[in-house]
C-alpha cells in the first residue's frame, strides 16, 4: 500500500465509510450548533442512552414470538429504540414545562433511569429468550467499519431533512436559539421548533447508533460546535467552521483507521476531533487561550505605562496648583479661557527630571518593571531616559500623551461625581481602572456631557481643596 492510495482511500470499503461518516457529521454539525447555542448539547447523550430499553424490548418481543430473523434484519430493534428515545424526549419536555428542574437534572435522570431499565431488561432477556442477547450491547456500541452503502444513503436522507428544516426555519431558529423568551413573546410557535428539533436529533441518533456507534454519535455532535466556538461568534461562520472541523476529523480519522485497522474507526474520529478541539482551544482566533493571554498582557503593559505617565504628571500638578494658590487664583475665579494658561504652566513645570523609583512606588509597579516600560516609552519617543541616575524627562509627545491620560482620569472622576453617589475614595479607585478603557470617542462624549457643568481647570484645583 503506498501513500496516495491510503490518503485517497482507494479501497471501496473505506470510501463508503468515509462518505457515510462525513454525511452523518454534516447533519450532526448543523443541529449541534443550534444545540450549543441553546445550551443543551448533552441532550444527545441522554437520548442515545434512552434507546437501550426500546432495543431490548423489541429484541425480547421478536425472539419470543419468532417474528423476524434478527440476524438478518435489525431495523425492528432500531424502531424499538426510536420509540423509547422519543418517549424520553417527550418526558424531558413535559418535566421541563411542569417543574423548576434545570436541564442537567433532566438529562441525568433520563440517562440513569432509561439505561438502568435497559440493563434490567437485558438481564431478563438472557433468561427469557432462546436467541442470543449478549450481542445487544455490542449492537449499541456499533461498529463504524462495518458500514454499508445503504447506511450512507439513510444518513444522506436524514441529513437532508435536517438541512431543509434549518433552511426553512432559519430566522425563527436563530431567534429561538439566541433568545427563547423573546421568541415566545413575539408569538413564535417555540414549542413546535423545539420538539421538531429534538425529534430530528432522536432520528439522527437512532440511524447512527448501529452504523457508526454510540461514541461517534455523541462525540461528533458535541465536540465540533464547541471547538468552533473558539474561532467565531456569529451563527453562519460558526456553522461553516463546525462543518469543516467535523469533516476534517472524519477524513483524518478514516485515514488513520485505514492505516491501523485494529482500532475502532468511531473512536479514532472522536480522538481526532478532540485534538482539533485542543488546537482550537489554544489557538482559536475568537477566544483561544493564546490570543486571550496575549491581548491581556498587552493590555496590562498599556495600563502600567499609562499609570507611570499619569503619576509623574500628577506630581507636577500638585506644584502647579500650589503655585496657582500662591499667586492668588482660586478655582472659582478661573474661567474657561484660562484653561490654556494652566496647561502651558503645566508644560513648563513638567520639563524637569522625574525619579523612576519614586514614581514606580506610587504607581504600584516594581522598579524593574517600571524601568522596562520606560525603555519602551523611550523607544517610541515619549521620554528621554537618563540611565545613570534613573530619571526621565518628558518629551513634548510624551507630555501630551500623559495629559490625555490625566484628562481621561479626571473625566471619569467627574463623571462618577456627577452621576453617581460614590465616595471620593471610590471615585479615584474606579477611575484608575476605567481610564485605560476609554477610547477617543467615549472621551469626547464624556467631555461633551460634562463640559456644560464644569471645566477641566476647575477640577484641577478642586481636587486638593
Amino acid at each position: 500500500m503506498n501513500l496516495s492510495s491510503i490518503l485517497l482511500l482507494k479501497e471501496y470499503n473505506s470510501q463508503v465509510v468515509l462518505f457515510g461518516v462525513i454525511v452523518y457529521s454534516i447533519g450532526s454539525a448543523l443541529i449541534g450548533v443550534f444545540l450549543l447555542l441553546q445550551k443543551r448539547l448533552l441532550i444527545s447523550d441522554s437520548i442515545s442512552h434512552a434507546t437501550l430499553p426500546g432495543i431490548t424490548i423489541a429484541f425480547i418481543i421478536c425472539s419470543t414470538f419468532g417474528l423476524i430473523d434478527l440476524s438478518r434484519n435489525t431495523n425492528i430493534l432500531l424502531f424499538g429504540g426510536l420509540i423509547t428515545a422519543l418517549l424520553s424526549v417527550f418526558r424531558m419536555r413535559s418535566i421541563k414545562h411542569n417543574s423548576f428542574f434545570h436541564n442537567d437534572i433532566l438529562y441525568a435522570t433520563t440517562i440513569s433511569v432509561y439505561f438502568g431499565l435497559g440493563i434490567a431488561l437485558l438481564g431478563m432477556s438472557q433468561r427469557f429468550s432462546q436467541g442470543n442477547s449478549s450481542g445487544l450491547l455490542t449492537f449499541i456500541y456499533g461498529n463504524t467499519a462495518s458500514m454499508i452503502f445503504s447506511d450512507a444513503i439513510v444518513f444522506l436522507v436524514v441529513s437532508t431533512l435536517i438541512l431543509l428544516f434549518i433552511l426553512v426555519f432559519w430566522r425563527q431558529l436563530s431567534i429561538f436559539s439566541f433568545d427563547p423568551q423573546y421568541a415566545s413573546t413575539v408569538g413564535m410557535p417555540v414549542n413546535f421548533y423545539d420538539s421538531v428539533m429534538l425529534y430530528l436529533i432522536s432520528i439522527q441518533t437512532i440511524v447512527g447508533i448501529q452504523a457508526v456507534g454510540i461514541v461517534l454519535v455523541n462525540g461528533i455532535l458535541i465536540i465540533p460546535p464547541v471547538a468552533a466556538r473558539f474561532w467565531h461568534s456569529k451563527l453562519v461562520p460558526l456553522i461553516i467552521i463546525t462543518i469543516v472541523i467535523s469533516m476534517s476529523s472524519c477524513y483524518i480519522g478514516a485515514v488513520l483507521s485505514a492505516v491501523y485497522p485494529g482500532i475502532p474507526t468511531g473512536s479514532v474520529i472522536i480522538t481526532v476531533a478532540m485534538s482539533i478541539f485542543l488546537l482550537s482551544l489554544l489557538f482559536g482566533s475568537y477566544k483561544g487561550v493564546v490570543k486571550t493571554f496575549i491581548s491581556r498582557s498587552v493590555y496590562a503593559r498599556i495600563v502600567a505605562r499609562e499609570h507611570l505617565l499619569r503619576r509623574a504628571l500628577e506630581q507636577v500638578e500638585e506644584e502647579v496648583s500650589n503655585f496657582l494658590k500662591k499667586e492668588g487664583y482660586s478655582s472659582e475665579q478661573e474661567s474657561e479661557s484660562e484653561e490654556y494658561s494652566t496647561e502651558s504652566k503645566l508644560l513648563t513645570y513638567a520639563s524637569r527630571a522625574f525619579s523612576i523609583s519614586s514614581i514606580a512606588s506610587t504607581a504600584g509597579l516594581t522598579r524593574t518593571r517600571a524601568l522596562k516600560e520606560c525603555k519602551f516609552l523611550e523607544s517610541r519617543g515619549y521620554l528621554t531616559l537618563n540611565k545613570s541616575n534613573l530619571t526621565f524627562y518628558f518629551t513634548k509627545k510624551g507630555l501630551f500623551y500623559a495629559l490625555s491620560v490625566l484628562r481621561r482620569h479626571k473625566l471619569w472622576e467627574l463623571y462618577f461625581m456627577t452621576y453617581t453617589n460614590a465616595s471620593p475614595q471610590q471615585i479615584d479607585f474606579s477611575a484608575d481602572t476605567v481610564e485605560h478603557a476609554i477610547g477617543q470617542e467615549a472621551s469626547d462624549e464624556l467631555s461633551a456631557q460634562i463640559k456644560t457643568k464644569y471645566t477641566l481647570t476647575r477640577l484641577l484645583g478642586e481636587k486638593h481643596h
Binding site: 411542569n98 417543574s99 442537567d104 434490567a120 438481564g123 458535541i222 485494529g262 476531533a273
Partner: protein
Amino acid sequence: MNFIGFWVVIIAIIIALSSALLGNILVLQKDSMLADALSHSVLPGIALAFFLTQSRTSVAMVIGAIVMALLTSCISNYLSETLRLERNSALGVVFTGFFALGIILITNGARAVDLDPNCVLFGAIELTPLHTISFGSMHLPKAALSNGIVLLVNFAFTAIFFKQFNIITFNPSFAKVSGIRVTCLKYVHILLVAITCVIAFESVGSIMIIAFLVIPPAIAWLFARSLKQMLVYSSLIAVCAVMISELLQGMFIDRGLPFVGIISAVLGVLFTTALLFSSHGVLFRIVRDVLANVKTIQEDMLKVLLKGKVTKEEMVHFARRGSKQHDKKFWSMRMSRLWSMLSLRLLERSQFIVIEEGMVCIDAKGMQKAKELSKKHRLWEEFLYAKGKFSSFQVHRSAEIFEHIQEQEITTELDKETEEEISIPGHKH
C-alpha cells in the same frame, strides 16, 4: 436472609447514602451531569492503570480512575470557569473525548486480556460480598468497608461544611463576599464525588451511581424547604428505594433481573410519582388551576347577572369566553364548556342563582355576593389609579383580573389604602 443477600442490601444502602449526601449540592449547583461525565471518563484511567501495572488489582485501577476523574473535573472546570464555556458543553467535550480514548486503549489491549467495559457500566454487586476481609472472627466484605469509609468521610464533610454550603447554594456571590472559600470547597466536593463514584463503580457500576447521585436529591428538592431537609429527605428516599428494590427482587428472583437495574427503575418510578404528587407537581397544579378557573367563572357570572336576566345558553357562552381568556392551559381551553356548566350548577346549589325555564335569575344571596364583588372591582380600580399610576382607561381591564384574588386580607388592606373616595376622570361605570 442469607449472608450474601444481607450484604448486598447493606452495600447498596451505604452507597446510596454516601452519594445522596454529595448529590444534593451537585443538583443544587446545576452540575448533575458531572456524575455522567465522570462515569464515562474513568475508562482510559482504568485501561492505563492496567497497562502500566500489568495486573488486575483493583487498587491500581481505582487510583487510575480517580486520577482520570480529577483530570475531568479540573479540565471541565477550567473550560467553564476561566474560558466561560457553558458548563454542560464543557463536560460533554471532555467526557466524550476521554471515553473514545478509553475505547481505543481497551480494544488495543483487549487481545492480551479481557478487560470488560461493561463491568464499569453495571458493576457486580451480587458478587461483592464474596471478597471479604477478616477481623478476628468477623468477615466483612471489602466493598462494605471501602464504601463505609467513603460514607463516613462524606458525612463528616457535609456536617462540617454544612453552614458554608447552605450559603453557597443559596447565594454564591454572597458566600464569596462573606469570605467563604467557594472555589476551594467546590474542588474538595468534586474530589469527594469523584472518589465516591470510583469506589462505588466496582460494586454498582457507573449508571447506578448517576441515579443515586441525582434522583434522590431531585425528589427531595420537590418537598424540602431547606438544605437540611433536603439532605434528610434524600437519604430517606435513597434507603427506601434500595429496600423496595430488594422486595421486588425477591418477587422476580428467578427472572435474572440485575439488582442495579431494578434500583434505577424504582428510582425512576419514585421520581415520576413525586413529580405528579408534590405541591409543585403536575396533578396538584391542574387541580389548583381548575379550582381557580371555576371560581373565576362563577364570579364573572354573578357580575353579569347583576345587570339583569340572561338565558342559560348565553350565560354558558359568556363564561366559556371568559374562561378561555383567563387561563390558557389546555385543560381549561378544551373543557371550557364543562367548567361553565359546572360553575352554573355550583352557583345554583349554593342558592346564589335560580334557573327557571332556561332563564337565569340572581337570588338575594347572590345579589349580596355580586355587590361585594363589584365593590372589590371598584376598590381595585381606585387603587390602581391612585397608587399604580394606571391611566383611567387601563384600570377597568386590570381590575377585571385582580378582583378575583381571593385573600380577604388583601381586600381589607385595599379598603384601608383607598379610604377617601377617588374619582377617576373619563371612566364610566
